[in-house]
Symmetry: C2
Subunit: 355 residues, 2 copies
């Protein structure tokens, strides 16, 4: 089983190193090959997603990804910026289904900015469509406005769009995921304003006919943002488009207080996937050895389960993570009075020694 | 001074009635004229924004608006649905600048879903552009896809767009508002993905050159959603586009715990405006006499200040609202142990009797 390892920028290198240590101790026939991505790749070769990195990712059975981005690249032309690497990988590999669990770890309930009773036991799965919507819609660019409020003036524009098969396939992913959980899907749209999301809603309803055992409800995106902060436990599976999913999944992850612990998976139609922590590259703490590697380690577990068909190995990692939390070990982001503060490497070592 | 009074649907009638009582007790030369809007107008005349209502709004110096919408209209064709009335008013009247304060009332700190220390004293002003973006961009509709992932399939699409003068005018509004407050503006964009919001960011930076006394920073919308739930007090003025503003302003309002108390204003370039509560039509509690009228009453105060040049009258209303809160009166949405539960009308009466 071949794994492409793409650490990227900021804390990416540090946290991926720990996940690699964990994978290596499992005694599985894993072939890990590393390549640069993001700002690191731009520095090395002038492009955030070099052909060789893309090829490695294509040839691999799964991709373990760290994080990309740093303020120092903000001035580059858009196609050269680190984020383009992740957008390019999603598009080139057809990774249309993004799984973003928002779980509140019992040990971290106090770390949430929400009142403990609102997040204790929280377990939502946000499924974000990842290769469509306004992220990739053409045409886009700058031009002279021919209509609107100020015809003749300079304007910039983008195209939001979803086709029927794109909505159908993410709908199936959501309904099937709900079957294995609480059996409820909330489809988030803005059907009251957008043609794209009226269509989204219509197709969700059609596909739902094949899943009579799953409950479906619809919520406008503004209301969904309100309900997430008011009563997040009301959700089971939330499915939405690329743009709304970007916003809502980050809000939900942050709400849990456990963002340093949350993995994510982005899958193609054959369950090949890219696995990365829900948090970003955190350039402010890069190189300090204090980043939390657990989201990346849990992403590696997700990879074993979803793409590499090794559910037992995945479960072993998950229990090892639970064990180190139970031992009271905490990186600074999740530290609280009475627990033991450790660095990135110590945390990784602790997981390895439990394994 | 002529005020168009548009109560709308759901709790709209009840809460607007209280605000009207408050306005009438002020002894100002106000001429109030009422007209149907939303579902109520559709029932009466077949259209959510009848010509006569639109004309009244155009002729008035300001508009006091309740709320529109009810699930029972969900099956209507989009142009006949209640929300079209509010979109139509914004567009026809050129109400491009939406002011959405997110304030946590000291008496209601406990009502927030966030921990009290994170919201105590919270006072953010979200300025949302309201007549541009993907809400109104053309073209939009359904068609057969000619490219993308599934050429030949049915797709729906919308156009996001902003022109330079649209961004410039909302930028001026934001910088000028910040001067009267904390002097800081956070512009929320998605410049890493969208052409429209790279342009937005560029123009914000240009306009900022005229306001050296105001601090400007930029934040991606996903990060802004995270920071709102993590540490909302870090913001002073937040300015963003129509779509992102829809989501973020609702999340922020709900976070405060005071959503039943939060007014909003939507202004044109001459400070003529439409004033409405931040909350919606709440069809589930309509007609029960339990809705909180204070957001609407405070919207009337905002109207006196922004559009009718009556800052003293506005201040009187605001103190009266503070007084009834201090008396311990609470509608059910903000009630807590030790305070006195009252209905919509009693709350309005209490404000009137303080005045
Ligand atoms: C880096 C950026 C392009 C990306 C996105 O917007 O999808 C990120 O926010 C994410 O959610 O993975
Ligand atoms: C009713 C709807 C069209 C509207 C919007 O999306 O702008 C509402 O959510 C709002 O924020 O005023």
């Amino acid at each position: 089983m071949k794994i492409a390892v793409l650490p990227g920028d900021g804390i990416g290198t540090e946290i991926v190193a720990e996940a690699v240590k964990v994978l290596q101790v499992l005694d599985l026939p894993l072939e890990l090959e590393q390549a640069p991505v993001g700002g690191a790749a731009y520095e090395a070769s002038g492009h955030p997603l070099p052909d060789s990195t893309l090829q490695l990712a294509k040839d691999a059975d799964a991709i373990l990804f760290g994080a990309v981005g740093d303020w120092k690249y903000d001035k580059l032309d858009r196609p050269l910026r680190p984020e383009q690497a992740i957008l390019g990988l999603r598009k080139e590999l057809g990774l249309f289904a993004n799984f973003r669990p928002a779980i509140c770890y019992p040990e971290l309930t106090h770390a949430s900015s929400l009142k403990p009773e609102l997040v204790a036991g929280l377990d939502i799965l946000i499924i974000r469509e990842l290769t469509g919507d306004i992220y990739f819609g053409q045409p886009r660019g700058r031009r002279t406005a021919v209509d609107g409020h100020f015809p003749g003036s300079e304007e910039a524009f983008d195209t939001m769009r979803y086709s029927r098969p794109e909505i159908e396939r993410i709908a199936h992913v959501a309904f099937q995921a709900a079957r294995k959980r609480g059996g409820r899907v909330t489809s988030v749209d803005k059907a009251n304003v957008l043609e794209t999301f009226q269509f989204w809603k219509d197709v969700m309803i059609e596909v739902h006919a094949e899943y009579p055992d799953v409950e479906l409800d619809h919520m406008y995106v503004d209301n969904a943002a309100m309900q997430l902060v008011k009563a997040p436990k009301r959700f089971d599976v939330m499915v939405t488009g690329n743009m709304f999913g970007d916003i809502l999944s980050d809000a939900a992850a942050m709400l849990t207080g456990s963002i340093g612990m949350l993995p994510s998976a982005s899958l193609d139609k054959h369950n090949k996937g890219l696995y990365e922590p829900s948090h970003g590259s955190a350039p402010d703490i890069a190189g300090k050895g204090i980043a939390n590697p657990l989201a990346t380690i849990l992403s590696a577990a997700m990879m074993l389960k979803f793409s590499l068909n090794q559910p037992q190995a995945a479960a072993r990692i998950e229990s090892a993570v639970a064990a180190v939390l139970a031992q009271g070990l905490r990186t600074p982001d999740i530290w609280s009075e009475g627990t033991q503060k450790v660095g990135t490497r110590e945390m990784g070592d602790a997981v390895v020694s439990v394994l």
